[in-house]
């Protein structure tokens, strides 16, 4: 196992780096330490940001010194139990049909497969939420079939629609807010990953699994109307 690295980003952030790759095993260690740090409620720690392979700890150095913080993080990491974290399995409806699957035909051609096969592969596997980033509720999903590793666009496309389901660089994503993107839009989900005044504001925890279930455009319209009233349209169960 690669030893932990403690990297400073200024005097108010220390990054605990577990490795340099996208790897569910590394990510589980990140999440285990994150849970421990949150539970420990260390005075001076402002917030923690788990990513694929590191945990960033934002802190106030006038309350907790870097030396004391790093010592505490090292203790917590040694005691962290990777298997202790509960996870859930979600089924997200996704419409790949026109007008929602904006880039489906183009990216299928790039991957030298039919759109039908792309949709089947995308929906076949359980994908894992590795981290959030980029914009509110933008979830990075790992576990995509190797055949779907389309490289990112050379130039960003115009803003994608809300709640876009996308792939790029061997990862999948759900992107709630329209933004210009280098990713490929396969479809849209009627579910809302993020609603600022909902409790919880964010639906899916890091470490949870998501499987996509194809729906037609008429079902999308009906479910989107339901989601807009605050009734969830994704199904969830405890992970066995």
């Amino acid at each position: 196992m690669v030893p932990l690295r403690f990297l400073d980003s200024g005097e108010c952030m220390v990054v605990v780096e577990f490795g340099s790759t996208v790897d569910p095993v590394l990510n589980e260690r990140v999440l285990a330490l994150d849970a421990m740090v949150r539970r420990a409620a260390i005075p001076g720690v402002v917030e923690t940001t788990p990513t694929f392979r590191s945990l960033a700890v934002q802190y106030e150095p006038l309350i907790v010194s870097r030396e004391a913080l790093v010592a505490r993080l090292g203790e917590l990491e040694s005691a962290a139990e990777v298997t202790a974290r509960p996870a859930r399995r979600w089924t997200f409806p996704c419409c790949y049909e026109a007008p929602h699957g904006e880039d489906l035909v183009e990216v299928a051609a790039r991957l030298a497969m039919s759109p039908e096969r792309l949709v089947a592969l995308h929906g076949a596997g359980a994908l894992r939420v590795h981290m959030y980033g980029f914009s509110p509720g933008f979830a990075y999903l790992g576990g995509l079939a190797a055949e779907l590793a389309a490289s990112r666009r050379a130039h960003p496309r115009p803003p994608h629609p809300a709640d876009a389901v996308m792939i790029a660089g061997g990862l999948a994503a759900i992107a709630p807010l329209p933004m210009p993107t280098g990713w490929w839009v396969l479809g849209r989900t009627p579910e809302k990953m993020f609603v600022a005044d909902r409790d919880p504001a964010f639906l899916v925890a890091v470490g949870d699994e998501i499987r996509f279930e194809a729906i037609d455009a008429a079902t999308f319209t009906a479910l989107a109307a339901q989601a807009a009233t605050g009734i969830p349209v994704a199904r969830v169960e405890a992970k066995p």
Partner: protein, 343 residues
């Protein structure tokens, strides 16, 4: 009658900001908050507000404001903007009582890119995810998640008119220009050869016009990476300096994305974030590396200075204004007997 601040004219880049949206980066939510935290805090401190209370951030587009329904004390600090009360020129950092029908105009001036208009008693806006800071790209916070424009009316929480005539505010030493912006190297300085780090610190960089609340984009002779220029995305601190494939650094500021996939050669230290943000497009910057101990010492010194009352000077003969402010700061943000809502 309810007291309201009225926006009479507003250029682009006028937003409500506070100390920032903390605790949500793990969900992809940007921290936001004031681009120049030192100036922002000075404006609030001068009025006895919480130092991180929501205030109006103004950029080069400027703004003109008035008040209706009563009078209220306001303070402006940050950069060297052209401030005028009914046409009368004011100092760069000032506190004054804004009376109904008076017009306070804030226009681009001799220097600086951001200034802050704080209101005694604060702005009555709902916190979103724990903060009133505006993030325009995701439509969160502030007034309907957008920049302010002419005709907007902002209701005040508990308006106070604690200041009479205008008084000049003594700026914090961090608000003065300096030879270099101080950085700590890292977190990915190991992805650059020592000669490239020396080049980063030795070169003079020009701030590009493609700079906004997300980043100060820098132009100059490009830097070379040791290996590739992509890393697996990790978290991005305020002030982190990313070097993408072009080799031209970006200093990531308040509206940065919370994670990023380019190596970060260095990070601007906390007390110099405002100094960096105030450098206008077209102006130049140099960086100087300091140790963590030096960064923390500068932070401690700033915190000690800013725990004291804001020193003020009456303008044009003055009255008992300076004494009023001194009294106010002695109670350190507690609403005093004069705080009852007027009008």
């Amino acid at each position: 009658m309810t007291v309201r601040l009225v926006i009479r004219a507003a250029g682009p880049g006028v937003t409500i900001q506070d100390g920032g949206r903390r605790g949500w980066a793990r969900w992809g939510v940007t921290g936001c908050g004031a681009m120049d935290p030192t100036a922002f805090r000075l404006a609030n401190r001068a009025l006895g507000n919480d130092a991180e209370a929501a205030a109006i951030e103004i950029s080069l587009g400027g703004v003109e404001v008035g008040v209706e329904g009563g009078s209220v004390a306001v303070a402006v600090a940050g950069g060297a903007f052209d401030l005028r009360l009914d046409g009368r020129r004011l100092p760069d950092a000032v506190a004054l009582r804004l009376e109904p029908e008076a017009r306070l105009s804030i226009r681009v001036g001799a220097g600086g890119a951001w200034t802050y208009l704080a209101v005694a008693g604060g702005l009555d806006l709902p916190p979103v995810l724990g903060s009133r800071a505006t993030h325009v790209r995701s439509g969160l916070g502030g007034l309907d998640g957008r920049g302010l424009r002419a005709g907007d009316r902002l209701t005040l929480l508990a308006p106070r008119d604690v200041v009479r005539g205008p008084v000049a505010l003594e700026p914090d030493p961090l608000m003065a220009a300096a030879a270099a912006v101080r950085v700590m190297l890292g977190p990915q300085d190991d992805l650059f050869e020592p000669a490239e780090i020396a080049a980063f610190l030795g070169r003079t960089w020009t701030v590009s016009p493609h700079s906004d609340r997300m980043a100060r984009a820098l132009v100059g002779e490009p830097l070379r990476h040791r290996g590739g220029h992509d890393i697996v995305s990790d978290a991005v601190a305020q002030g982190a300096i990313q070097v993408p494939g072009s080799g031209l650094p970006f200093v990531l500021t308040a509206d940065r994305q919370p994670t990023g996939g380019y190596p970060k050669i260095a990070t601007v230290i906390g007390v110099d974030l405002g100094r960096m943000a105030q450098i206008r497009p077209g102006e130049t910057v140099r960086f100087a590396a300091v140790s963590r101990d030096e960064a923390v010492a500068a932070r401690r010194a700033a915190a000690e200075r800013q725990a004291a009352a804001v020193r003020t000077t009456p303008i044009g003969g003055g009255d008992a204004v300076a004494a009023d402010l001194a009294d106010l700061n002695l109670v350190s943000g507690v609403v005093d007997a004069r705080a009852a809502t007027e009008g």
